[in-house]
Symmetry: C2
Subunit: 695 residues, 2 copies
């Protein structure tokens, strides 16, 4: 990727000498902004654009440029690529649109491009993109105009949409965020976000990586990079719902991923997710400050009303307001004395007009060991106080560095002044107490997730009998059917996950002869019915042999009425498990992220509240425990309101083992252990049912 | 209130001639902004402020001003009020702070002020406030400076915090929202939000009422006004949590209300709740457009990326994207033709640079009968397109009026241009697709809630035996104890709510002689234990007399071990109720809003998910049904996943009757029917337990 950001020479293919077309703009941008490499054009007519020479064919260029930018109509792209290949150019950015985002028929074009790239060993970005920018060397491939940007920025951006990317660069400029490297990768037919991310994680000139993604192409590779990144990665992942599928496809050919999997992946890898542009900017603003290491805050406010709003916001994000110790109050009183306002947290500074006092009080608050971060509400009238405010913000910046704690400043002032200070003052400011508190929440959450991630520990050792599983798979394959319940339980057992034992019988008669510990459950085994209970194929709490025979006969009668009739492959008889909390553990091979594991409580928790927890497999013990803690229903497992404490240790073991199984046996498309009855602490779990689907 | 907004003459008490104090600023503000009434000052020295005469005592003023503004130190306020009273002044605004918001000791001052007001029949606003503004007549009582504001504004504002109020007026100015009348009411010792709201609802020059409240003083009166208001009322209610209690008390003496009650009240009365300043402005912007009458939208976008974001936002707010009919697509194709972009909803307009085409396509979309509102993403570069954008926005405004459907326009452009257009273009604009969609959601929700509110129907006729209830109350009062369970069930029955019948016995021996239909439940009756089950005082599913006697003896043994031992007032024996969904209905006298009713499903729904529904009592049948629909667990009542459909008709009847009881018998402090077992549709409910507390 290096040369895509640091090309010594560029050619723009599709640059017109005479009219202001997109290629022309690209050449102009680089010439006028000060890119020091060589830049050439290729167009129909030879000539000059601001001193850069335009040739009428690729082979006339007097050197082999590091990068070729192609911005000609879609159907001409392949020929130009071929010409580049012949010339020896190894890096191309295809900005032209009109490929598979436009219609499926264009797949042929894409295939051809890939073939040419393969043949000439070319790496390329696009098509349907605006390419890269390196603000440090003023190199800019996009065909839009960019605002003047200082160099030295350490925030990088990878986007799938040039429009969104340009909008965000503009918002960066308005918020004193200096961008460093930028890449818009469009349809990412070859080079994708993972390639760029890998480069940026290693890049010494990048501290923070931001991304706008409509679809992940290699979700697992993204995850593996993110999991090891010490740099914060902020991602706005759109295309979250069924409503977006069509438009995202026609925009950047992105396929929508299961959004809950994205959430699980991000939490696990400590990736910061931004919902919209406000979130996105907020995250970038706060993440460059020292992190909140816990959730104890001090609130200082020039307005009582905003102090109330800030305290509300603190409650919303789970912050506690530190009780100011008497020594702090005494110190504050020596700094200023007022009759009207009480000394408490939030501290109302409404009576103070001397700005040096703000700095002093802020410093005292930052000194308190119990304070992890500060929310400061600043209100002022630009006419009188602009200069003092700037000084104050500089002091805030200094103190933040000195005490290594974040201070989120909400500024309320006249709109032009706000714009001015946002743009030109280095220290980040926020526009409402809620947004400022949300920013600190981003900081605290990132710290928590990163700490957990870095202490995730090792994967549990797996003891999976792959040969036994393979045998069942072959058997089912030969019979072209899904595994029956007893086979699914067998597979689960082969993965080292103990299930409730059972006896398989073919008939009521056979059942009547089995030695059994009543009460028992009896379940239909059928290749046609993976949801047994939906066809009445499960009977519980059977007390004796007579009732068992009755139950089987009765079930058979019921099946006869169902159309189409399910094949009866037999019946599974199991001892009834002891009581406990009904939970489930499942998983599948996700097309984007690979093996994933899902867990939660069953019944209404799953069906009504959709209260589930997802991670990429395999998960470590710590991650499995974190999955449980994330559940809304976690208090149920902890023994809410006098109920028993459940054996979450045994439960989390099952999660780990299922995640191992899906990782090792990737031909298992899906597995679902439901219910997993979690008994009282120390008494383990009973897995009474399992469904397995092979690919 | 009229004269507080239209005073013909004002005196400012505490205005200094020589120095720029707060009183001086108030006089100046009015003189310089063009208030045409008479304005006087009262201060230590006689003299002039910008042509307004300052006297050294109230009695020297040459007329009786309509309003006196007092802005002198707290301890001098009473004397000045006395002077005003003697002079015959009937309306006062006390802006001075330092009253009970500062310390409880100041209650004496407040009492004195109330006495004087009473004696002279004075109506007053404050203390600790900035008073009223009427932008129409340029009359402004606050001691801060205001930006120049055009007249004719029809958005009114009531605030409890002058700081927040001033900040919002500034934000109004930056967003082309013209304010009309403004009132900051501070500690609201006498005149409160209800007085002002009542006036504004009737005021012909007000269309929209906005409020910032830290505490409601007369919640019930507010509710009754809101319930009948045809004008939208937008309220930001802060002070929502235990973290805010202290700061809100010291800011405006506001006591925090139960936030879930506030939510219930707002939903019932179709009051729009804003969480923060962004929500607040958004609501004001959108509510002045025609309302969204259903949730079907068209999305038009100049950027593919923003189209994806908009579709995500639509999914979030439950909007559906209309399938564009072929005729529409044909029409659009005649307006413009492009090769690169597909014709679908969202419609990507990225290839169009002719603004007249936007207007034409927008008009076609608005014409579609299936479209209830439009989201338009507009991106432009100020340098080239500012003028065209302004014309376009004017056209949007015209079309919105013509077709009576809202169009939420998101604008993405250079920051100074955005500021300029926000401030100066009459048509409201939004800054992100998510915020624009959220605004349309406000519109649609308001329409839904208002429609439901206006069709809420009548209260159910109540048949409450008040005399019987009063008798139990007296009996309990005489014995200084809470009602026992059998009495609570009796009270419930007296309210026309049928409960499961029971027999009360004093001993196991007595129980052994009762005629009973087994199985039964037996419950402790004790004046000391309102939560019977917590002391082991409930036994269920008892099958015969022998087991019943055993159960009672065993319970007695258990109670002996509890310290302090509960008094045994007897035992209640009830037949076991049939199966059903375990729900509850309760209610209480809320200190702010009066009688309220609460309902939901019991167990984990209540305890883990806090899934409850609250309304102000009494509720109509429609409102009771709406309470149930609001529950997350509503699908359980509807028979999710093959379960039985529950008798929500009977359940909602119980809600209505409980709400009636709390309304009629306001000496019932609290009632809790739990469980209310809701049986299969048509089979009613079984109320097996009731707790009642008198005041």
């Amino acid at each position: 990727m290096e040369k895509f950001f640091y090309p010594r020479s560029i050619v723009v293919i599709g640059a017109s000498v005479t009219k202001m077309n997109l290629g022309h703009i690209i050449v102009l941008n680089n010439r006028e902004n000060g890119y020091e490499g060589n830049i050439y054009g290729v167009g129909r007519e030879e000539g000059d654009i601001a001193g850069a020479h335009v040739y009428d064919s690729v082979d006339k260029i007097p050197e082999v440029p590091d990068v070729a930018i192609i911005i000609s109509p879609a159907q001409t792209v392949a020929d130009f690529m071929e010409a580049c290949g012949k010339k020896g150019i190894k890096r191309i950015v295809i900005e032209s649109g009109g490929f598979s985002e436009y219609s499926e028929g264009q797949n042929i074009l894409e295939k051809k491009i890939l073939e040419i790239a393969d043949h000439y060993n070319i790496r390329f970005i696009g098509p349907n993109c605006i390419g890269t920018v390196n603000f440090d060397i003023k190199m800019m491939m996009p065909f839009g105009f960019f605002p003047e940007t200082p160099s030295g920025g350490r925030v990088a951006m990878i986007v799938q949409s040039g429009g969104i990317g340009s909008a965000y660069l503009k918002e960066f400029g308005d918020n004193a965020i200096i961008p460093g490297k930028f890449a818009a990768i469009g349809n990412k037919l070859q080079i994708d976000e993972v390639d760029v991310l890998d480069y940026l994680i290693k890049d010494e000139k990048t501290d923070v990586i931001t991304m706008y993604m409509e679809g992940f192409k290699r979700g697992r590779a993204f995850f593996n990079l993110a999991l090891r990144s010490d740099k914060p990665i902020i991602v706005q992942k759109s295309n979250r719902s069924n409503l977006t599928a069509k438009i995202a496809q026609s925009h950047t050919t992105a396929l929508s991923a299961d959004d809950t999997v994205v959430d699980g992946c991000f939490r696990q890898a400590a990736v910061i997710r931004a919902e919209d542009n406000i979130d996105f900017l907020n995250a970038v603003k706060i993440i460059r400050l020292p992190l909140m290491k816990s959730r104890r805050v001090a609130v200082l406010s020039r307005s009582g009303g905003h102090a109330v709003l800030t305290a509300d916001a603190c409650a919303k994000f789970g912050f506690s307001l530190v009780d100011f110790p008497p020594a702090f109050i005494e110190t504050v009183k020596t700094i200023y004395h007022t009759r009207v306002i009480a000394h408490q947290n939030p501290l109302d500074l409404g009576e103070i007009f001397d700005y040096t006092i703000f700095t002093k009080i802020l410093e005292e608050a930052l000194k308190l060991p119990d304070v992890d971060g500060v929310l400061f509400n600043h209100l002022y009238v630009a006419t009188y106080e602009a200069e003092m405010s700037r000084d104050f913000l500089s002091n805030v910046g200094r103190l933040v560095k000195q005490y290594q704690k974040p201070v989120a400043v909400t500024v309320n002032t006249d709109a032009p002044e706000l714009l001015n200070i946002s743009k030109n003052q280095g220290y980040p400011i926020f526009t409402s107490p809620l947004i400022a508190a949300k920013a600190l929440d981003v900081s605290a959450t990132y710290y928590e997730e990163k700490t957990a991630r870095d202490a995730r520990g090792k994967n549990v050792p797996s003891s999976i009998n792959m040969a036994a599983i393979e045998k069942i798979r072959e058997h089912c394959g030969a019979e072209k059917r899904i595994p029956l319940t007893d086979e699914a339980l067998q597979i689960t057992g082969d993965a080292g996950i103990g299930c409730v034992a059972g006896v398989t019988v073919k008939s009521a008669k056979e059942a009547s002869k089995c030695k059994l510990n009543f009460p028992v459950a009896v379940k239909l085994l059928s290749r046609d019915a993976s949801h047994k209970s939906d066809v009445g194929g499960v009977r519980l709490k059977i007390q004796n042999h007579k009732k068992l025979v009755e139950a089987i006969s009765d079930m058979k009668k019921v099946f006869k009425k169902i159309k189409p009739q399910p094949t009866i492959d037999g019946f599974l008889i199991q001892e009834m498990a002891a009581d406990g909390v009904e939970c489930f553990v499942g998983g599948r091979q996700d097309p984007v992220f690979g093996p994933i594991v899902i867990a939660g409580l069953g019944g209404i928790f799953l069906e009504i509240f959709k209260d589930t927890s997802i991670r990429l497999a395999p998960v470590t013990k710590n991650e499995a425990m974190d999955m449980l803690k994330q559940l809304q229903a976690y208090p149920v497992l902890q023994g809410a309101r006098g109920k028993m404490k459940a054996d979450i240790d045994a439960f989390s073991d099952v999660i780990c083992r299922v995640s191992q199984l899906l990782t090792r046996a990737q031909d298992i498309a899906e597995i679902d252990l439901n219910p997993v009855i979690v008994h009282e602490k120390g008494k383990g779990v009973s897995i009474v049912d399992s469904r397995v689907f092979f690919k």
